[in-house]
């Protein structure tokens, strides 16, 4: 499984930009703790697909779903949701079936809702502030 390192925010964005073309459409779970760089990587991915400028991609925590490039990329954050029932109320199925790239933060808390095939990107902040970023394909 490909493993990458990014030592700055700019490198994380550049990595996202490079990965963007390789990611199959559908669900991509961005998995990592608060501050691991999930939204930063999403900036690079949206930019890599020509859907948005990095500065225009902001946290969807409060607003839950952000859409970029007229349905090309969706950035979803389930941080504040507790139950699958609540996630189901978001209508993510329609978005996923639309052929868009759907980046989902905190989606691993609801694995039954995102069956394989899916892509996972695991992000980890190391003590020296470097980010370790691993790409996994399931199914």
């Amino acid at each position: 499984m490909p493993l990458f390192r990014a030592s700055t925010e700019a490198e994380t964005i550049a990595l996202g930009e490079r990965l963007a073309a390789k990611l199959p459409r559908g669900v991509v779970l961005l998995i990592g703790n608060l501050g691991a760089g999930k939204t930063t990587l999403a900036k690079g991915i949206a930019y890599g697909l020509g859907a948005a400028l990095p500065d225009d991609v902001s946290s969807p925590t409060f607003t839950l779903i952000h859409e970029y490039g007229h349905g090309l990329v969706y950035h979803v954050d389930l941080y504040r949701l507790e139950e699958s029932r609540e996630v189901e109320g978001l209508g993510l199925d329609d978005i996923i079936d639309s052929g868009a790239l759907v980046l989902i933060e905190w989606g691993e808390r609801f694995p039954e809702l995102f069956p394989p095939p899916r892509t996972e990107i695991h992000l980890r902040a190391l003590p020296d502030d470097t980010r370790e970023i691993e790409l996994r394909r399931l199914g």
Partner: protein, 359 residues
């Protein structure tokens, strides 16, 4: 002229009747805090269901309190975005139906424009109208934006957050430390009990627009601070207090919050306020603003208000009263008034737009 305003973009169902864009005859907010508190935030499916349940009684109450009947209205205004589509649809569709049934014009309002007009309405009412052009800082859980407000209520976006909103930073820091949702009021209450200079937060110098905000590094710095200490017992005690006493007093919170954590909260609040005010003042200078407007939920923050006063800026800084800082419908009716004068009406095909832009 009477406008009925309806707001349902996020977690509040609200209705208000405002006369001539400045006199609030009624402002009713069906606060959903008790429903949402236990989930740590806005839950969309619950939110749209709550909106559906509340919309009819809230509108009826607003009309009754204002002593204005539907036939006495000149227009109906509703928030059309930004927000959660399912929530927006409840208020917008209800407004359309009422307007259609009564033959009244419909006015679509941007939620953020509403926040700006909450302040314009009150300052006009107080006899100290906001002089334009003004710089507007709109800061809440979902937004942190700087706009230039022109004489004819045109807007230009000057800066925005590149990652987390200011209110979101408060919510996430509160949650990290075991405090309940929403994080702003509790941190604002506890901050004066700590040393704001105890913890130094460094902000990375940003490339690009110097007026943009970034709060995600601050959140990460707090996370590292928490991880470097053994706070598990204290955090558990606070979570237990939040569960047992949804309306715990300041003394109860102080009893479960150690001095070191109070220092962290004070330093965090100081850093957020400093970021907000520094960039707002720089933006105001750039556009030669004659006034500053601070609005959105974060404008209720007492520390922010005190810091704005202490900064002695060369123009008046206008804040909304607490009731109009957070989401309400009086601000929607107020923002609709200039549109009514311009006959800027919305068709019945107007759609809710989750990512509606003001500028």
């Amino acid at each position: 002229m009477y406008i009925l305003g309806i707001e349902s973009s996020c977690d509040e169902t609200a209705a208000a009747v405002v006369e001539n864009g400045e006199t609030v005859l009624s402002s009713v907010v069906a606060s959903q805090m008790d429903t949402h508190g236990k989930y740590g935030g806005v839950v969309p499916e619950l939110a749209s269901r709550e909106h559906l349940r509340a919309i009819v009684p809230v509108v009826r109450e607003a009309l009754e309190r204002a002593a204005v009947s539907l036939s006495g209205l000149d227009a109906i205004a509703a928030t059309s975005g930004p927000g959660l589509v399912g929530s927006l649809l409840v208020g917008l569709t209800y407004a359309k139906s009422l307007a259609f049934a009564r033959g009244l014009p419909l006015i679509a309002v941007n939620h953020i424009e509403g926040h700006i007009h909450a302040v314009i309405l009150e300052s006009r009412r107080a006899g100290t109208p906001v002089e334009l052009p003004a710089l507007a800082l709109v800061a809440s859980g979902g937004h942190t934006h700087l706009f230039r407000v022109d004489e004819n209520f045109g807007y230009a976006l000057l800066g925005k957050t590149r990652d987390d909103a200011a209110g979101e930073a408060y919510d996430k820091v509160a949650k990290l430390l075991g405090f309940p949702y929403p994080g702003g009021p509790i941190i604002d209450c506890l901050a004066p009990h700590g040393n704001p200079l105890a913890v130094r937060f460094t902000f990375a110098k940003m490339k690009g627009n110097a007026l943009d905000f970034s709060f995600s590094g601050l959140k990460t710095a707090v996370l590292r601070w928490v991880e470097a200490r053994d706070l598990a017992a204290a955090i558990a005690a606070r979570r237990a207090l939040a569960r047992a006493e949804p309306h715990a007093s300041l003394e109860q919170w102080l009893a479960v919050t150690q001095p070191e954590t109070l220092d962290l909260l004070a330093s965090f609040q100081h850093a957020v306020i400093n970021e907000l005010l520094t960039r707002a003042a720089a933006s105001a200078a750039q556009i030669h603003a004659r006034a500053m407007i601070v609005s959105g939920g974060v404008s209720a923050n007492a520390g922010l208000r005190a810091a704005a006063r202490a900064a002695h800026l060369p123009y008046p800084v206008h804040f909304p009263s607490p009731g109009l800082a957070t989401d309400n419908a009086a601000m929607i009716a107020a923002a609709a008034f200039p549109k009514l004068l311009r006959r800027e009406f919305a068709g019945f095909d107007t759609a809710a737009d989750a990512s509606l832009k003001l500028a």
